[in-house]
């Protein structure tokens, strides 16, 4: 069937997209990007309230004394104190009848103007309301603090589970074998020490590092930046998914899939580990594994590593298969 002539449409659709201001990760200087925003569960963000009606055992009647307190409030008699259990003496003072029937000891106590064997010290516990001193009152602020009060909100690194740099955290976990985290952490420390003491790398213009990288002679004194730079520079932007049978005739279709930041880094680290394990050990002892990885990282910055070829291969395949990009979209 022939399509009817459509005057108002051009033969080919033209996409006119407003140019979006590119806020890509590459534009932000590396030093600023290193401190990632980490979302942490905290008290600042209370759990959302459910909008559904309450269940059968929610929203029940208050406790007896709470009810009595409420009644006392209304009548003006002043019922029991909810904050505290009310002492028997207090009830006796209010109630004449029960005073007569009270035990002798209590009756004598009531008659006496002051207790006979009064102690020089107090045995009563302070009321909770008094114990909770308002932290913003002038009294507290005037007290000296040895190190001053911390600035709020606390930095994300002071959270127990997020105290390390995100790259360090991720790479350490990827180094781990058989769940031995402590060993992986020791290896990580040795990698950083190797980066610190190795001579500064000479960069290769054919394999440029990511934008915003400082001059390479600054790197050894900032080994975490060194590590991040090597990993981020060699990290692939995409992976290739082979969709079985999508090309027809049982042939797999190569579809490029973009990767997120952590995924990119993970791929790069796995490539680095692959390359490092194949290296020959020069010395002996427990530092050798760490040294091989550190040497591979240095080789990346110097553009000598084979990981660059691996990255180039994936990107080339991605470019070749970009026509298949729409396949994934069509299915949705």
């Amino acid at each position: 069937m022939r399509p009817g002539i459509q005057l108002l449409r051009s033969g080919r659709s033209i996409d006119v997209r407003p140019k979006v201001l590119e806020f890509s990760a590459h534009r932000i200087p590396l030093c600023l990007r290193l401190q990632q925003r980490r979302n942490i569960t905290s008290d600042e963000k209370p759990l959302p309230e459910s909008e559904q009606p309450k269940g059968p055992n929610q929203d029940q009647l208050p406790h007896v004394s709470e009810e009595a307190a409420a009644t006392g409030d209304i009548t003006g008699e002043g019922g029991p104190d909810v904050e505290q259990g009310s002492p028997v003496q207090e009830i006796l003072k209010r109630d004449q009848k029960s005073q007569e029937k009270a035990p002798k000891v209590l009756q004598e106590e009531l008659k006496a103007s002051s207790p006979k064997g009064s102690r020089s010290y107090s045995t009563s516990t302070p009321r909770r309301a008094q114990a909770m001193i308002d932290p913003e009152s002038a009294e507290v602020q005037n007290q000296g603090h040895i190190f001053g009060l911390p600035e709020l909100p606390l930095p994300s690194t002071s959270h127990l589970k997020h105290r390390y740099d995100p790259v360090i955290h991720q790479v350490t976990n990827l180094l781990m074998q058989d769940g031995k985290l402590s060993k992986a952490q020791r290896n990580m420390a040795m990698i950083l020490e190797r980066l610190r003491t190795a001579p500064p790398p000479t960069p290769d213009p054919r394999h440029p590092l990511i934008l915003g990288a400082p001059p390479t002679n600054h790197l050894p004194l900032n080994p975490i930046l060194y590590l991040t730079l090597a990993i981020d520079s060699v990290a692939p932007l995409l992976r290739i998914r082979s969709q079985k049978g999508a090309a027809g005739g049982g042939v797999a279709l190569q579809i490029p899939i973009p990767l997120g930041l952590r995924q990119r880094r993970r791929t790069a680290v796995m490539w680095i580990l692959d390359a490092a394990i194949k290296k020959r050990t020069k010395g002996s002892g427990r530092a050798m594994f760490a040294h091989k990885i550190a040497d591979e990282l240095i080789a990346i910055v110097e553009g000598k590593s084979t990981v660059w070829d691996r990255r180039g291969g994936v990107h080339k395949l991605g470019t070749a298969a970009r026509a298949n990009l729409s396949f994934g979209n069509r299915r949705r």
């Binding site: 040895i146 360090i168 952490q185 020490e193 003491t197 190795a198 004194l221 020959r280 010395g283 002996s284």
Partner: protein, 420 residues
């Protein structure tokens, strides 16, 4: 076997080729090369910043109380001497900084005063001391600091860098004739020790042999008026005569008008038990039957006094130390720890207890740094570019607490080697 590829017909079985295994044809490292790389002591990091205004420690400034909590650099010639006696250890943090430097802590100043007094002939002639303390509290570094100051004062230093080397059966041994119980010499080790003594103590070049040795004492002719340095090298070149030469050299060093001596040993517990060597009756040999260990322990126990005064220092280890109940008991009692009692069921080595029986051995427990000292050290780290944080009271207090009250090794782990 013919493979017939007819549609529908079954393929005949074909044997798959075995995959060729990758053979590493690269050059293999030479014998001992890998170990040498592992044991290599690196004392400089060209990446680290040079600390401005870093002063060298000198014979005059080492007793200056105002330098407490400061870091002073070790002068170049002394570094070479310390290298020769193997005072630097691989596990220490030297490779992180531009040049080897040391913190002047209270114990260092005390030691400096003692060295000064002994040099001037005031007070005790000989101090015999064992350093104990937590792992990473600076016991080995105290030995290094003592050696540094002794070199600055032109003393003669004899250092046994690790007692374990003497008992592991990795160096050759042989019985010493006409000794009961049989003593054993380690000639190769003695030769290397003589070499270290000769290279580390340039003062030996100025000292001469006082009288020619007896005929049957040394198997080779020794020229008269030979310098002690040359004498030591004679022994270093020929392991056969290393032990007689060592004895002769030591006798010469204890003559009147010779410089004071500093004797050091690290890893004391290893020298207090049976070795891995065996006797001709297939019994393990006790460490005290080895001449070098016996020579050192005689000085530690006070059996052989040092006529020209000096220091005898030993250090225990917490990370590489066999369990020796007798040593633990003796050191605990000497330290005045009332909680250390004799266990009725444990076996105590009488020979080990005998070392400390004579009295006069001090046990010095290395504690943590004070906050001021910790701050001085951390400022040095920051100036070297190793620490990137601002060093203020809060930071110092936090790390000081984190390191268990200023344990130096832990402080370094928390500040320099932490993965933050």
């Amino acid at each position: 076997m013919v493979e017939v590829n007819v549609k529908g017909a079954k393929k005949t079985f074909t044997k798959k080729k075995k995959k060729l295994q990758k053979v590493d044809r690269g050059k293999k490292p030479a014998v001992g090369e890998r170990k040498a790389l592992r044991k290599r002591v690196v004392l400089s990091n060209t990446n680290a910043l040079e600390v401005e205004g870093l002063k060298d420690i000198t014979a005059q400034s080492m007793i200056d109380d105002s330098l407490r909590g400061h870091v002073l650099a070790i002068p170049g010639p002394v570094v070479d001497q310390l290298r020769a006696v193997e005072a630097f250890k691989v596990t220490q943090g030297w490779p992180l900084f531009r040049r080897p430097s040391m913190l002047i802590r209270k114990d260092t100043l005390d030691m400096a005063t003692e060295i000064e007094n002994i040099s001037l002939g005031i007070g005790d002639k000989t101090i015999r001391r064992v350093f104990v303390g937590e792992r990473g509290s600076g016991k080995t570094t105290m030995l290094l600091q003592a050696m540094t100051m002794a070199f600055l004062k032109d003393w003669v230093v004899i250092n046994i860098p690790q007692a374990q080397d003497l008992i592991l059966a990795q160096t050759e041994y042989g019985p010493l004739p006409s000794t009961t119980p049989t003593l054993y010499t380690q000639r190769t080790y003695t030769a290397s020790l003589l070499n270290a003594i000769s290279r580390a103590n340039p003062i030996l070049q100025t000292l001469q042999l006082s009288q020619p040795p007896a005929e049957n004492e040394i198997p080779i002719p020794v020229p008269p008026n030979i310098s002690l340095s040359r004498l030591a090298l004679l022994g270093a070149e020929d392991p056969e005569i290393a032990w007689p030469i060592f004895e002769l050299l030591y006798r010469e060093l204890t003559l009147p008008d010779r410089p004071p001596l500093l004797l050091c040993m690290d890893g004391l517990a290893h020298a207090m038990r049976n070795t891995h060597y065996i006797s001709n009756t297939y019994q393990p040999i006790h460490a005290h039957q080895f001449t070098i260990i016996k020579w050192f322990l005689d000085h530690l126990s006070g059996t052989s006094p040092l006529p020209n005064a000096g220091l005898v220092l030993a250090s225990t280890s917490e990370s590489n130390s066999p369990v020796v109940p007798a040593l633990k008991l003796a050191l605990g009692q000497l330290e005045g720890n009332s909680a250390v009692r004799k266990d009725p069921f444990a076996k105590y080595d009488e020979r080990v207890l005998g070392v400390f029986e004579g009295g006069g051995v001090e046990v010095k427990r290395m504690g943590g740094l004070s906050k001021e000292e910790a701050r001085g050290l951390m400022e040095y780290w920051a100036l070297s570019g190793v620490v990137r944080q601002r060093v203020d009271d809060g930071f110092v207090g936090e790390k000081w607490c984190l390191s268990g009250g200023g344990c130096v090794g832990e402080l370094e782990r928390a500040v320099v080697r932490m993965r933050v």
